[in-house]
């Protein structure tokens, strides 16, 4: 399905475009970070280190290279406490003493999973829908696309919140995805293979994955796929080769599969890439508003750090940077694919 010509043009575009290289690098780093999270993070992302007298208070530590000073009033008078960032907590800690960097790394997992799966589900829903509408045309098209227009009429965030409200009590609101590395590290035999197995074994054994949010972002975004696929199908339907395929007795399904789908893939691939970024943003917004059901996401961490923005700016800023880099990276990849696959597509701007 992917011809040499396409491979060549994707490669040459990557060589000539600096932005494409930056985007690819960003995305590769984020994907590696998310996948290998247990090996990278220095601390358990949920471990709290609040001073109780016995243990040292490690809350609100600044990131490496920064320092904070604040006046502490004790019965002995006032002392000025200066705290410096250390390598142990490269991005500092939050108000509960959790390591911000560990949470940053683990947050990438949820964002990426939701982004990729959400875009995948949206593609699977929207593309056949749109192809059928465009290919059959006439009343079928009208009926299908008016339904899609109804979905478009709602602001996506409002629709998403409403859908979360419908699904959140349904028992599959979130699910725990087991972490294979941690399982392997805890295993008697496999543990030998895993480097730093003691450290990895102490990491959380599963990732809380927001099922409803994934479904909801797909349900909100599939319409875009339907619209693009429909437009492609309408133009391909009129091609002579579709008529030729009909004249040899091919069925509608064969024609859709063999002729319409492969020729409409290019804009769909580009759209899917850009939608991954859009869905990462939407997921962050939902978890920021507290609809996600998970506690370890970038959006949730922004919401938590928001109130301390004045004194502990890093708590909200670090996950914010995570979102920015992920979205920019994915968008740059989308631009790269668009330029490489079909220079004639314009106006499918990024998020």
């Amino acid at each position: 399905m992917i011809s040499d010509r396409i491979r060549r043009s994707v490669r040459s575009e990557l060589h000539s475009s600096r932005l494409a290289q930056v985007g690819l690098a960003l995305v590769v780093v984020i994907v590696l970070m998310a996948t290998l999270a247990p090996f990278i993070v220095p601390h358990h992302p949920e471990a709290q280190q609040v001073g109780t007298g016995d243990t040292e208070d490690r809350t609100n530590l600044p990131p490496i290279g920064f320092s904070t000073e604040h006046i502490q009033t004790t019965p002995d008078g006032q002392t000025e406490i200066v705290r410096e960032g250390s390598l142990e907590h490269p991005m500092g800690t939050n108000t509960r003493g959790q390591d911000v960097f560990s949470r940053f790394v683990y947050g990438a997992r949820v964002s990426l999973l939701v982004g990729l799966l959400g875009a995948g589900i949206a593609t699977v829903l929207g593309v056949p829908y749109g192809l059928a509408a465009g290919y059959f045309g006439g009343r079928t098209d009208d009926a299908l696309m008016r339904g899609a227009d109804v979905m478009l009429a709602f602001p996506s965030l409002v629709l998403a919140i409403a859908l979360v409200g419908v699904f959140r009590d349904s028992g599959f609101h979130t699910t725990g995805l087991p972490d294979p590395f941690v399982y392997a590290a805890r295993h008697d035999i496999l543990g030998w293979v895993i480097p730093r197995s003691d450290h990895v074994a102490s990491m959380p054994s599963s990732v809380t994955f927001p099922v409803t949010v994934t479904l909801v972002v797909a349900l909100v975004n599939w319409v875009w796929f339907a619209r693009v696929a429909r437009g492609e199908a309408i133009s391909i339907r009129q091609q002579e080769y579709v008529k030729a395929a009909k004249s040899i007795g091919a069925s509608h399904l064969t024609i859709l599969r063999q002729h319409v789908l492969p020729n409409s893939l290019t804009p769909i691939i580009v759209l899917a890439t850009i939608q991954v970024a859009a869905i990462i943003l939407l997921e962050s917004a939902l978890s920021y508003l507290g609809f996600s059901g998970t506690t370890l996401t970038w959006g949730q961490d922004i919401a938590r750090g928001q109130s301390d923005q004045r004194s502990q700016w890093w708590i909200a800023t670090m996950p914010g940077l995570g979102i920015v880099f992920a979205v920019i990276g994915v968008n740059l990849i989308g631009d790269w694919l668009r330029d490489a696959l079909d220079p004639s597509i314009e106006g499918e701007g990024g998020v």
């Binding site: 002579e240 030729a244 004249s247 040899i248 063999q258």
Partner: protein, 435 residues
């Protein structure tokens, strides 16, 4: 060549319902085609030739529709099966089946296996993203599945479900195009004279020249070993030398397989070279039909004479070509007068022509008929309509109505004939000498 009828079209009407009104692209068309013959249909652009072909294989696209008429096709096996399943006389007539009465699924199962089509523009008739070999193999495979159970008219075997699709993506062995169908595709490419068919099968359509693509398309059409091959302007998009090669190929294949060919063209040279019988189409009707000799040597209808007069005569040099004045009339229903449609361009229009002529038998072979009063009445000066008669009549009729547009609706009516040609262009003589 046997003289048995294979196809009998009775009163075929195909209409296009456009925003400007109803377009009568094919109007009450009668036609019989014998088994093993090459039947030609010739006419100007916009005369309804291509729509006739599309009607035959049931590929008229919306907003067009076949509104009336019957297409009897001789297929004893299908007729038997239909009678067994309790079909009435409406659907079958002896060995003949009325194609229009079959379900859409049944009609689809006939495409490729009984009817195949070659289209005008080979360049756009292949999917640019799939290799030529795969596309021919696809046709082979469609037919192989349809024939897996030869008794099943509804060709359940032809269904290729979603499950198969998922499997074919996962398991290479379940691939839609199998090794056997690929081998057959290579065989077919060899049959139509593509050099190095094994290598060429893996090339994409843009790597082929126009003539080779047309050969490949013929290979695709032959995949199902059809009984009737509908060739819709098969050589129009090709240059003259390639035209001759393609026509030779078609003749050779026809001689080998004995299939019936319905050849649609605006090129009288092609007709003269290829056909046994010929029908001349004008404004959606067949105005004259007969054997090649009838039509070329003893034409009756002034339109046929006009067409023949527009062909340059290479041997008898000198003398200007005599184009037919005017254009193909509008086929919009409300603008079609109830008279001979050709009368306003006819040099011999007379009083009788104000009534629509029926088909008259004419001397010559038994097939020779024409829809012209000249077949029975002699043209005399007294009966002639005065010059400019139709201009005035037209103007009188147009009072209060929109100005009549000569070409309106034809573009939507016949998708494959996008070019609007002048008369001299649309009847060419290149591509072959009269045999």
């Amino acid at each position: 060549m046997s003289d048995e009828e294979l196809l009998r079209i009775e009163g075929l009407c195909t209409r296009f319902f456009t925003e400007n009104g109803q377009v009568n692209a094919v109007e009450n068309l009668d036609l019989t085609i014998d088994e093993g013959e090459v039947m030609g249909i010739v006419g100007e652009s916009g005369s309804g030739k291509s729509v006739t072909a599309l009607s035959l294989i049931d590929l008229v696209e919306s907003p067009g529709r076949i509104t009336d008429g019957r297409i009897w096709f001789r297929a004893p096996d299908i007729a038997d099966e239909l009678i067994e399943s309790g079909a009435d006389d409406e659907v079958t007539d002896g060995d003949f089946v009325d194609l229009r009465k079959l379900s859409e699924e049944q009609r689809r199962s006939l495409r490729g296996s009984r009817f195949s089509t070659i289209f005008q523009d080979p360049m756009s008739s292949f999917n640019p993203s799939i290799t030529v070999g795969e596309q021919i193999a696809e046709a082979v495979e469609v037919q192989r599945r349809a024939r897996a159970n030869p008794r099943s008219l509804d060709a359940k075997a032809q269904r290729y479900g979603l499950g198969d699709y998922v499997l074919s993506t996962v398991l290479p062995s379940k691939k839609y195009v199998t090794g056997a169908s690929r081998d057959r595709a290579v065989e077919l490419l060899e049959l139509v004279g593509i050099p190095d068919p094994v290598e060429r099968a893996d090339e994409y359509p843009h790597e082929y020249s126009g003539g080779m693509l047309q050969r490949a398309m013929i290979a695709q059409a032959l995949a199902g070993e059809p009984e009737v091959l509908v060739a819709d302007e098969p050589t129009t998009a090709l240059d003259v030398t390639i035209q001759a090669q393609i026509l030779d190929l078609l003749s050779k294949l026809q001689a080998e397989t004995g299939m019936t060919i319905l050849l649609i063209t605006h090129n009288l040279g092609v007709i003269a070279r290829m056909c046994d019988r010929v029908g001349v189409m004008y404004a959606g009707e067949i105005v004259e039909r007969g054997t090649l000799e009838d039509v070329f040597d003893h034409p009756v209808h002034p339109y046929t004479r006009g067409l023949l007069g527009s062909v340059p005569d290479l041997e008898g040099a000198g003398g200007r070509l005599q184009p037919i004045p005017g254009n193909v009339p509008s086929l919009l229903d409300h603008e079609m007068p109830d008279r001979c449609y050709f009368a306003d361009r006819c040099p011999k229009a007379m009083d009788e022509c104000l009534e629509h002529p029926p088909a008259f038998d004419v001397e010559g072979s038994e097939y020779h008929t024409t829809k012209c009063y000249l077949a029975t009445t002699e043209y005399t000066e007294e009966k002639a309509l005065p010059d400019g008669y139709f201009d005035e009549a037209g103007r009188a009729a147009d009072v209060g109505e929109e100005p009549s547009e000569t070409e309106t609706g034809i573009g939507t009516g016949t998708d494959s004939e996008t070019e609007t040609e002048t008369e001299a262009d649309s009847v060419q003589s290149d591509g072959g000498e009269p045999r």
